[in-house]
Subunit: 193 residues, 4 copies
DNA sequence: AATGAATGAGGGTTCATTCAT
DNA sequence: GATGAATGAACCCTCATTCAT
């Protein structure tokens, strides 16, 4: 049962670096020093590994959704929460980057992708609802929807910037820049107190 | 010389539909009813086709950049311009979607991608500079940079939405939705007149 | 000791449906909800299962051989006996169908196949000898040998027809058709009384 | 275009010796000293090779059907014709032996098999019709149908005997024995002249 | 008797690319 | 400009079998 997790861990790292398509099952098994058959004992095929990771991701997003109403009590908590969200997205960035697979992949994997996207949207919407509740924002219903859409896309877009940079040291810098943009997005709607 | 263009045209369509990696050179040659050798007479390799398309795209972006200061004279012209820009991005959407290739591709193709991204950023920046000049926006320098970044990401993000929908009829609808979000992004900074 | 029989029973069913080569040991163990190791505790390898079934079959044939001189007392008993024989062959039809394994299998399994074929031939020969004894046939020695050969091949050939039909309801029909042909084969040699 | 035929020739030999399933594409390409890709340039997959051979076989059977009414003018010509037919069947004996593939194969290959079987049945029926026409047989309609069925099964059954013998020298002997049985089958219905 | 993770050889197939004509 | 047969490396995956527990 150990090897299953080792495969997941390594696959996550390799998928993030190179993309699902460019990671071969042989590469995974060779680096882990296990037999190809062992990988296929734990997973039906390569997509099955991706599916498991997407589901892990999905659960983490859902967990974050249920936690954040406790963590964010004033507007000052918002940036810190965004950073932890962005950090999570960065951890599974191969998912957000690989639309090709999303479009053309097996229906099974496609469904998982779809579910994850909905989780992300839901989290985003809930976030703005909460901020509204805290009486931190002054914004109309329609505008809030647009804001939520834009917010998600900027978050994803900024995560994708990570993939263009090999140097891991710059990653935290980029994440902070992303957070800045997301904060700036809300700026105009802040309620003056 | 005819076949070169036919390859480019079909490749663009197929790349948009399926992604570079999922389009084989054999598929291209078969659909065009030409020989594989013929394709390789016109292009050094598959990436070479992609490169040519990226450059086409890049030039179209640059052309748009030089045109838009004539086309946009008041804020009312902005949405129409955005729509034509989005339409262009949609035409070459495989480029904006396929970060995998950008990350792992040959340095040659990578450079072309990079140049295109810079062109897009430049166009975006220039757009906001122009709007500022027209005295339509009231915005600080720093905020303007953030706005430009966000604007580009939302545009790209919305283009990627296209790829998740097979129905081509919905495409124009999605493009309009994208424009709405981009307009909404600027809304808070409009100068009241 | 229970599981050994369960493996044999399921294997027989699966071998008949799909052929030895297309049934994996994993399929057997999964359907029985036992571990692969358990299967290999009871059988040295997959062929060993087949061998056991062939031997079961062989014994059933031999038993039938010793019984039939009691069961067939007049020519009128012949069709009923043929039907019970055909039913037995149908039960183990994977054996009669799979000449590939016979040709290329391990010598051990090959020997079992060979022994079974001899049992079948012997049963057939004995059948005609008996009919002759009953004074039901008028046939020369040489013709009788040919008749026995032909009879066996038609029986096997008709059993193989079963495998081409998925619908189990038709099986009894096909068996009856086979019996008809076998009876027709003897028709010309009946003694007029 | 040469290699296509070489693949077909060698595959026929290997399929007859070892059965489709036990012949690997690598074995074929290695023995022919061509690349695996070359084989897949000429054939879509391994079954495609088998399909081509079955169709070859089918055509040969059909050709024989149209020829035999010229070749068989008296009953004395019958054995010679049977021998040439048996020789043809022997040439493609892997087809008649491999019911496993017939049962479980792709629908495409299955259809080809089915067509071939019909051709064989048609040839057989036509044969007996012709003999009847020549006024060589005295047989009733119903009996003739049974005779035709039995004849085909004996022919196939005897061809399968070939596969159990490695020594190629014995093959002609076995073929002759098969012919003898087939002739013996008709014996009882000969018209006395 | 039984488990189940692990092995590893082997097989079918794809595809970008070359090159003689 | 164009053809199309040929290459060969690479990949995904299967499955009979083993063995420590």
């Amino acid at each position: 049962m150990r090897n299953r997790e080792r495969v997941l861990n390594l696959s996550l790292a390799l998928f993030n670096q190179q993309g699902i398509a460019h990671v071969s099952t042989l590469q995974i098994t060779t680096e882990l020093e296990i037999s190809p058959g062992n990988l296929y004992y734990h997973f039906r095929n390569k997509e099955d590994i991706a599916k498991a990771l997407v589901q892990e991701f999905d659960q983490a997003v859902s967990r974050m959704r249920s936690e954040f109403s406790h963590q964010v009590n004033t507007l000052d908590d918002y940036p810190a929460f965004l950073l932890s969200l962005m950090t999570l997205l960065a951890q599974y960035r191969f998912v957000l980057r690989d639309l090709e697979t999303l479009v053309l992949g097996e229906p099974d994997l496609k469904r998982c992708f779809g579910h994850l996207y909905n989780s992300l949207k839901a989290l985003n919407q809930a976030m703005f609802d909460h901020l509204n509740h805290l009486d931190a924002l002054s914004i109309e219903k329609e505008d809030q929807r647009f804001l939520a859409d834009n917010s998600l896309m900027i978050a994803i877009g900024w995560i994708n910037q990570l993939s263009m940079v090999n140097n891991t040291d710059e990653h935290t810098l980029i994440l902070r820049q992303g957070v800045s943009r997301l904060v700036a997005l809300v700026q105009p709607y802040l309620k003056l107190t």
